[in-house]
Symmetry: C2
Amino acid sequence: MLETTISAIRPLDEAAMAAARELHGRLTKPAGSLGLLEDLSVRLAGLAGACPPPVPEPAAVAIFAGDHGVHAQGVSPWPQEVTAQMIGNFLAGGAVVNAFARQAGASVTVVDVGVANPLPVPEAPGAVDASVPRLVAASVRRGTRDLTVTAALTRDEALAAVSTGIRIADELIDAGAGILLTGDMGIGNTTPAAALIAAFTGVDALDSTGRGTGIDDPTYAHKVAVVRAALARHTPDPADPLGVLAAVGGLEHAALAGLILGAAARRTPVLLDGVIAVSAALAAAAFAPDAVGAMVAGHRSAEPGATVALRHLGLDPLIDLGLRLGEGTGALLALPVVTGAVRVLHDVATFDSAGVAEK
Amino acid sequence: MLETTISAIRPLDEAAMAAARELHGRLTKPAGSLGLLEDLSVRLAGLAGACPPPVPEPAAVAIFAGDHGVHAQGVSPWPQEVTAQMIGNFLAGGAVVNAFARQAGASVTVVDVGVANPLPVPEAPGAVDASVPRLVAASVRRGTRDLTVTAALTRDEALAAVSTGIRIADELIDAGAGILLTGDMGIGNTTPAAALIAAFTGVDALDSTGRGTGIDDPTYAHKVAVVRAALARHTPDPADPLGVLAAVGGLEHAALAGLILGAAARRTPVLLDGVIAVSAALAAAAFAPDAVGAMVAGHRSAEPGATVALRHLGLDPLIDLGLRLGEGTGALLALPVVTGAVRVLHDVATFDSAGVAEK
């Protein structure tokens, strides 16, 4: 499934991009006056292979949840059971991601790919486009192993999570989603994200590691040491993304890489949230460099590793508000910018049609 | 009317702000993890004097349109009749502001405060909340005088435009608007905006003047010289905002200052668009310093003067995408961030209510 998906990922369509650039020049606005929105709409035309590209709606948020063996090293002040408890909160509609998803009209799908503790609710299939969040049970194992001691996952486990991500992308797109948004939940998951970012970009652990949900100076120094030790132990090879995900990743990171690849294979845009998403995007780009064409960076997380990863991917984030919550919240805030960029190509009159003089 | 409005503008309510900060600490998210959105929601609680503050909807965009005598100096490559033609485009729903307003569910009101050429359409009163844009005829004069030769407006003319802005704010809020968005249209209007920003902040014309809709190097140098000459001729006194608006402003700038004051007096947030809006916001703040409490900076325009003005006002923009279109487009893109920030205070569960453990 992974190989088939990778082989389906193609470069952006140059003819559609040229058509979008030409159309922008005829619309009733000064050339270039929509800044990055123009570039974004041109890229989405290239992804769709059509000008204008379809308006990217409805939107579907996929929140992949997992736990982390490295939590035992004291990298987070939050107890591990919060991962399972927050899934209950997502399904009850009480989290920030729910508030933003309701506002944006986006569906929410929570996928358990590796939560350690029992979930507070049974699997609820639901309809993909329903306003009620649904849960998909796809646990590979109940949390990763401690990456300071051994590989977090076997290659087979990492592959299973990647495949789940691809499957969820296919299901959401088959059900009509025009854009996928990445979400994540996992106490301790900024530690594997920092390790992934260092492994794929080559920066030092100090530059890829942040304070996550908020940790004090001693905990931060310890977290950097943990990331550095994991990299030294496993010496992950960035040319082997499955190996990197297995050695120092997480199940939600692997599944997000799969979601991104699945979206790219279907030529559907995928709006990235924060540092977990962009660490997974690095893995997806290592599997298939052309997958970057399907990625839209929703926001610049306050985590320093996110900026390192975005620079490596060549992506400009749409929003920069110091968010560091995850869940998909930053992607949801950026969604209207993406749909707005595309609507311009559909809805705006040309100088000719509106009878407006040019300069 | 201006004096009554100014006297109604009060500081933010400290008790409501404290309540919003306290509530943020109990919601199911790490403290501070929503970054600037938390600060924004706290300010809006202070503005409303209530926690949570009302969700700021529906939204109403007010586009003030005017022409400029300084156009004769060759500061813009666009013919002056484009101002009137674009009003036709707004009313036909064909401009970018219309595309974004439809997406955001915002009404569009176009106010002619000083267009030079005949409008292509008659006044159409319409309903404020209708999806059809409406036109309000409130022309003070058919364009300003050339500010390089004489004062752009008399004090009475400037006051008439400010009063129109206040009246429009009142009408929109009376009709139910929960937030006002500033829009503008006026070929040549970045020149008076640059002069206003220099006058109110004290920066040199070189730092307040930009390339507007896109001008070449010689035209840019000429534009800077025009702004500098206007400031040297009129030596506007920043402590006399009506005098500044009359000497070097525009009718849409004056009306926008009035709209902002009107919104602040009604304790209703006003979402600022680009450089025209923030130049008017400087005037509003000079009339009533507490009016800044009602202002939300929608985006950072590509115009350098916008950044100068935002810094002077102490406002952080929500979006930074290199936009330089005006019309209200940047404010509309930022609107979901504002409503999202407030929805968090309404919709998100607390740790207690959701049964989620704290760190």
